[in-house]
């Protein structure tokens, strides 16, 4: 459905994209995960025809973006980071306007607006001016406005920035529903939990390049990443630690605590506990640290996804 190959974009002296490539199959929800300034929005902007790349090729639904921008535009819906709505118009009028731009037939558009307002839980407030809506409600209408022409591909550029948990959950449910119905979605975010929940494939982007991509499981197993069991003991002595060390190579001691590293923590946990019992160690506390997108990102780039 989407092919992006060797995409490069430079702004003055800043190289925003340094040769990005990825393919997205029909019906996939592809997450583009990266910190601020990684190149997510630039990638989406090029794919939505807002920017021209310096190099590289993009094709959407079989159309080359450079040769057939109009056909590409007809196939995509774009949820921009900004809430692009006319505050002085009602939600209904806003949707009617945006739907009209995609030449959705009048009767069909009317039904579609009602359907989307219902989906986003705003049908009862359809005639209220958008300026009376909360930030979350505006975001919902912003997403609805990109779905009026039933696009094959939906670009969502950080659609949940600065909204309340209720609206966030509703947006997640809608994205999941659209994905289930077969819509191809590209979802950019710097919230790893969003990517984990919504996307079946993830591309990790940093400093203008995709450093890794695949399903969450593929990402977890692809590198040298290991899960960790952190066990605190009440009676950890040098002798007992040596005994444990003889049987378990991959570990590290911090005072009364040992960090055991494993690629298969579920399988190895019982073995570790059994070994501890054998050498007479009394366990005070066990903490399992699983591989998350955050840890994957940290190991790949040496950075946190969000500023801490």
């Amino acid at each position: 459905m989407i092919n992006v190959s060797n995409l490069r974009k430079t702004f003055d002296t800043i190289e925003a994209l340094k040769g990005i490539s990825f393919n997205i199959q029909q019906g996939e929800c592809y997450g583009l995960l990266g910190p601020n300034g990684a190149g997510k929005t630039t990638t989406i902007s090029i794919m939505s025809t807002l920017l021209e790349p310096n190099e590289g090729k993009v094709s959407i639904a079989g159309y080359d973006l450079k040769k057939n921008p109009l056909e590409c535009k007809k196939n995509i819906g774009v949820v921009t980071q900004e809430i692009a709505l006319y505050n002085e118009l009602s939600a209904y009028d806003n949707l009617q306007f945006w739907g009209g731009l995609y030449n959705v037939p009048k009767l069909e558009l009317k039904a579609r607006i009602d359907e989307l307002l219902n989906l986003f839980g705003l049908l009862e407030r359809k005639n209220d001016k958008v300026k009376t809506y909360s930030g979350g409600m505006k975001r919902r209408i912003n997403i609805a406005s990109a779905l009026l022409h039933m696009p094959n591909v939906l670009f969502m550029d950080e659609p949940t920035v600065g909204i309340d948990p209720q609206s966030r959950n509703l947006i997640f449910e809608v994205v999941e529903k659209l994905h289930k119905e077969g819509m191809t979605i590209i979802y950019t975010t710097h919230y790893m939990e969003e990517a984990e929940r919504l996307c079946n494939r993830i591309g990790i982007i940093d400093d203008g390049i995709i450093v890794a991509q695949g399903t969450l499981d593929e990402l977890k197993t692809s590198g040298s990443m290991k899960e960790t069991v952190v066990i605190s003991f009440t009676n950890l002595t040098e002798k007992r630690f040596t005994k444990i060390s003889n049987d378990w190579n991959d570990h590290q001691r911090f005072d009364d605590t040992i960090h055991f590293f494993s690629k298969n923590i579920q399988g190895d946990l019982s073995k570790i506990i059994l070994k501890c019992n054998e050498v007479g160690l009394d366990i005070l506390h066990i903490d399992i640290r699983k591989i998350t997108l955050e840890t994957i990102f940290l190991s790949l780039t040496g950075k946190h996804l969000r500023d801490k």
Binding site: L51, L70, I83, A84, Y86, E88
Partner: protein
């Protein structure tokens, strides 16, 4: 494009502040100035000249402020992300500009019509007798001014900056073009400079209609219409170039 114009008109007629600035404020100025300058002459002809000058001069000046606001609204749309979203839709980018120009034309025509109808009802300005000429002049002035706001907007970064620029440019253009003081009492050098202003051609056109009583077919009158069309075409051309170069630059 029609959808863009319809949306802008809906926004305009739903906004009381815009309506007040476009219609009520010019009416207040026209009323005040006409009471001051419309009765200063010794003859009826002099008084008519005063009324025509005030109505034409004030209308064109206020019209320039209105179209400057329309240019500013384009920058607001850019800042709020609407322009980005419009550019993602299957619409040619030029149509965004054409939509604004058509909208500016419609607002200008309506504003000028309201001003002349008001002058007819309140000050007895005989517009019915010269209706075709007045309509032609209104259309020409509206067209001449329509690109002004976009040109201003392309030099600015925000609508507030457009407001600042427009205050200076419109007041200077109105001062030298005769909107404030009639041209014929200005020094000769100022009368020569006045031709660069759209206000001058508009006011002179209305003088031709009401004071010189020239018919619509008269070449002196038509020449002013052609100059206004020329100004409009040049401004719209510049607006298109600047729109592509500056306003469409999203990042």
């Amino acid at each position: 494009m029609i959808k863009l114009v319809k949306k802008d008109l809906k926004l305009f007629f739903g906004n009381k502040q815009d309506m007040l600035l476009t219609f009520a404020l010019p009416i207040i100025f026209i009323t005040l100035f006409t009471f001051v300058f419309g009765k200063m002459g010794n003859t009826d002809e002099d008084n008519l000249g005063g009324v025509v000058h005030v109505v034409a001069g004030t209308s064109v000046m206020m019209l320039l402020f209105s179209v400057a606001g329309i240019g500013g609204s384009l920058l607001d749309e850019k800042q709020e992300g609407m322009l980005k979203k419009l550019l993602c839709s299957p619409m040619h980018p030029k149509h965004i500009l054409y939509g604004k120009l058509v909208y500016a034309n419609i607002i200008s025509v309506v504003q000028l019509i309201v001003m002349f109808v008001y002058a007819w009802l309140v000050f007895g300005l005989d517009i019915m007798h010269y209706l075709p000429s007045i309509v032609l002049m209104i259309l020409a002035i509206s067209y001449a001014c329509s690109g002004f706001g976009i040109v201003l907007a392309s030099f600015a970064k925000s609508s507030k900056q457009v407001q600042g620029y427009s205050t200076i440019v419109v007041l200077v253009m109105s001062a030298i073009g005769g909107s404030m003081i009639p041209i014929f009492i200005m020094p000769e050098i100022m009368q020569k400079i006045a031709v660069v202003s759209v206000n001058y051609w508009g006011i002179q056109g209305f003088y031709d209609i009401f004071l010189n009583l020239l018919p619509i077919t008269d070449i002196t009158f038509l020449s002013k219409v052609f100059v206004l069309i020329g100004i409009g075409t040049s401004l719209n051309f510049i607006a298109l170039q600047m729109f592509k170069k500056n306003i469409l630059k999203i990042v």
